[in-house]
């Protein structure tokens, strides 16, 4: 440790520590495709009984891209995303049609040729982590629950849960803003709101590296909102451990107004801004789970772990 004694005292994990002590130690590289390729994630999750958005079509080649309009004709709204994308790059959310054009969630219109070009870029690997040829997924566009309407600007708010050795330890809601162009991506300007893991109620919030109180577009205070289906959300997050096999995992969940919580994707290198959103470091929570492991008191089933987590994380709830 060269610097940052104060940060260490508050249990904040830095990028170096995350990479050196958690990702390399707990996340075996051979398991990465399970989460880096959303197509694999989807089929594994479906196999484990996890609720996921329905897959409409897969474009594996430029030929598939040309056949896409036929499939798309059956769906009013849908999402196009790269199977191996990162950080939300390359995702297009279409929520309807206007004339011959597709309408994006921000209201912009996109001609079919532009949509197909984007899809073909995905297939060539423009958005993939390694630049390798990729495939494009077309899937159900989540009809998000209105619960977050007051504190989000268009787009789909999602819930990020850090799962450590199978136990959910920290959660946040990512709220799209005008700046983030309706995307729930903190790097693009979305607001991150910490969620009390024990109750599922939103607490503090952060935008960038700063703490904020209100949503920048709706100007509504962010704290105090109850995330619905919280128990099921924790179950889904805990199941992510069985599906991915990763000891340090980020599970992204969205809430559909009809279908309830759906697992959107998982991340083997979840970001660290969740600590700012929660106004708390991850390290003490990891220590609680590590102690459990030493004590041999691990719970076998995802549901049992999710319930145990609620109790284990209660000391970290705000008073």
């Amino acid at each position: 440790m060269l610097w940052g004694r104060k940060l260490k005292a508050s249990g904040v994990i830095g990028l170096n520590e995350r990479n050196a002590n958690y990702i390399t130690a707990l996340n075996s590289r051979r398991l990465y495709p399970r989460v880096d390729n959303k197509r694999i994630t989807k089929s594994l999750a479906a196999g484990a009984g996890m609720a996921v958005p329905e897959l409409y079509a897969v474009a594996e080649s430029q030929g598939d891209v040309r056949g896409l309009p036929e499939t798309l004709a059956q769906h009013k709204s849908f999402v196009v995303k790269p199977a191996s994308g990162s950080g939300g790059d390359g995702i297009l959310v279409i929520d309807g049609r206007y004339g011959g054009n597709y309408r994006l969630i921000n209201g912009e219109l996109m001609p079919e040729s532009a949509l197909l070009h984007h899809t073909s870029n995905i297939v060539s690997g423009q958005f993939s982590l390694t630049g390798q040829p990729d495939c494009a997924l077309v899937e159900y566009r989540v009809q998000f629950d209105s619960v977050f309407d007051e504190i989000s600007y268009r787009g789909v708010p999602d819930i990020r849960i850090i799962v450590y050795r199978g136990y959910p330890v920290m959660a946040m809601v990512r709220l799209p803003t005008r700046q983030s162009d309706g995307k729930a991506n903190l790097h693009q300007g979305a607001v991150g709101a910490g969620v009390d893991l024990a109750t599922g109620i939103t607490m503090s919030a952060s935008s960038g590296n700063l703490r904020v109180r209100d949503h920048p577009d709706t100007l509504t205070p962010i704290a105090g909102h109850q995330v619905p289906h919280w128990d099921r959300i924790l179950d889904i997050a805990a199941t992510g451990y069985e599906v991915s096999g990763l000891g340090y995992l980020g599970v992204d969940i969205v809430i559909d107004k009809d279908l309830g919580p759906l697992m959107l994707e998982m991340n083997a290198r979840p970001g660290l801004n969740i600590q700012i959103a929660n106004d708390a470091g991850l390290q003490p929570r990891f220590a609680v789970i590590d102690a459990l492991r030493v004590g041999g008191a691990e719970d076998a089933s995802p549901e049992a772990r999710a319930r145990a987590s609620v109790e284990l994380m209660r000391p970290f709830s705000p008073r």
Partner: protein
């Protein structure tokens, strides 16, 4: 456990690197910096004689064992003469021969030596000498003198001291007078001393050499008495009796024979000239290692052709640049495009200088980026688009060079040295980030890359470092060890102090 393993590995790498480094530095004497030079002496022996009709053979005793000095090179200048070096009892001999010659002949033998305290008298222990055959009454006098001296001494060294004291006494006793009368100087006196020591069963021989001083046109020959005490050779000044050699004494040859001889010539004159010069210590060390047959130097970079050496002296700096990047990325938290892109840009800066390099790089990426945005509208597939960007980069480089040349800005020509593929990839990555994350992120990463490149360039441009790593490439193992340790650094990056600043103010 992994941490221990990494630390152990780093320790092994570091000690291996440092071990070889210290061996090369301390034992082989490779200098730590490029400008280190040391004194060398060029000693030239010249033989001059008048040729007589018929074949001519000339011989000169030349240095063999030279305690305190190492030989860098030796050669002969003698027009038309056959020349070779032979070994004979007690040393080496240079020989010249020619079928016929006329007039005054000059033969030169030249040797370049430098002081090297590690070179010692590496000679075998001689057998005890047989008692010499002196005739009476010298025999009796010699035995008596030796017996008296033996009584006054404890070992070979003190015996020689005592003997020399007796011999050098201004009022010699009758034995000394008898033995040395008529042998006051030169070879015969030395011969008698050696004979006397033979009675005392002390191996002894005469050593002749030069006292190396700055500049001597006609250097005098100094003679010392060398005796073996059963363990090592000891030196005595036969006229003063003092023990030890002056450290500028260069032993030319041993034995009592004349230094030079000629057959078929007359009026032989032997003359020594000494000249001091500065030698590149690196040459000296390389030469010394070669003489010792050191494998390390045989397989060193110095054995490569000069052009390849030049390439490696640059290549060896790349890890240094990469190290700078590790520090900036993992300890400071600077964002860059690609992992090694900044180092490659830094390499290009070596040719352009920093300021011109930064300007050219910004110009190139800026223009490339603008054109890349135009290309975006054409909706090209990925690979053709990348190729188009690459071609445009090359065209831009071309036009920058031509325009700069027309404007008389010669540095503009060096734009050709930028790694075009890397720049094309940078433009592509930058435009994607620009679109996805906004201009701010793209500019941040671009500026970060330039900052790292500039710092890496400055570090890679330190001549002393370049020399050090070229001479001691094993130091890369030390860098490797350090990088391994960096790989397990789990502390915060400096940028994270800012990033998580809100969290640290709360606690503690």
């Amino acid at each position: 456990m992994t941490l221990r393993y990494v630390q152990g590995l780093a320790l092994v790498c570091a000690s291996l690197g440092l071990g070889v480094f210290f061996y090369k530095q301390a034992v082989l004497g490779l200098p730590l910096s490029a400008d280190a030079s040391r004194s060398a002496w060029t000693i030239e022996a010249s033989l001059r004689f008048e040729a007589r009709p018929g074949p001519i053979k000339a011989a000169l005793r030349v240095p063999a064992l030279t305690p305190g000095f190492a030989t860098l090179s030796e050669n002969s200048v003698a027009g038309g003469y056959g020349y070779d070096i032979g070994y004979e009892d007690g040393g080496r001999r240079a020989q010249w021969a020619i079928r016929r010659a006329s007039g005054e002949q000059r033969l030169y033998y030249r040797v370049v030596v430098y002081g090297d305290p590690s070179i010692e008298e590496a000679d075998t222990t001689p057998p005890f000498p047989d008692p010499p055959n002196l005739t009476e009454p010298e025999r009796t006098a010699a035995i008596e003198l030796v017996e008296e001296v033996r009584q006054e001494s404890a070992d070979a060294a003190s015996l020689v001291s005592a003997l020399l004291r007796r011999v050098n006494d201004p009022t010699p006793d009758e034995n000394v007078a008898l033995l040395f009368d008529g042998r006051r100087g030169g070879t015969r006196r030395m011969s008698m001393l050696i004979d006397l020591l033979a009675y005392a069963r002390v191996p002894a021989r005469s050593v002749r050499g030069l006292l190396l001083k700055d500049e001597q046109r006609n250097a005098p020959i100094a003679t010392y008495l060398e005796i073996h005490d059963g363990v090592e050779w000891l030196f005595f000044d036969p006229s003063s009796g003092s023990q030890g050699l002056p450290n500028n004494f260069f032993a030319w040859s041993r034995g009592l024979e004349t230094l030079a001889s000629v057959q078929g010539g007359s009026g032989l004159e032997l003359n020594f000239a000494v000249r001091r010069s500065q030698l590149d210590s690196l040459d000296v060390a390389t030469n010394r290692a070669e003489q010792r047959g050191s494998l390390l130097m045989t397989f060193s970079l110095f054995s490569l052709p000069i052009q390849t050496q030049a390439v490696y002296s640059v290549l060896l700096m790349i890890p240094i640049g990469a190290l700078v990047m590790v520090l900036l990325r993992n300890f400071v938290g600077v964002q860059t495009f690609g992992t090694f892109m900044p180092v490659l840009i830094a390499l290009a800066f070596r040719e352009t200088d920093l300021l011109a390099g930064v300007i050219l790089f910004s110009l190139l990426t800026g223009l490339g980026l603008a054109i890349r945005f135009l290309l975006e509208r054409l909706r090209l597939l990925l690979v053709p688009r990348l190729t188009a960007v690459l071609i445009i980069v090359v065209l831009l480089m071309l036009s920058i060079s031509v325009i700069a040349h027309q404007l008389g800005l010669e540095t503009g020509l060096s734009v050709a040295l930028f790694p075009m593929v890397i720049i094309a990839m940078t433009i592509e990555r930058m435009s994607v980030i620009w679109e996805e994350r906004g201009a701010q992120d793209a500019m941040k990463a671009g500026a970060g890359s330039l900052l790292v490149a500039a710092l890496a360039y400055l570090v890679m441009g330190i001549d002393a470092l370049e020399y050090l790593f070229f001479t001691f490439p094993e130091l890369l193992l030390v860098i490797l060890a350090f990088v391994l340790l960096c790989g397990r650094y789990s502390g915060y990056r400096l940028s994270e102090l800012r990033r998580f600043g809100v969290l640290s103010r709360k606690d503690s």
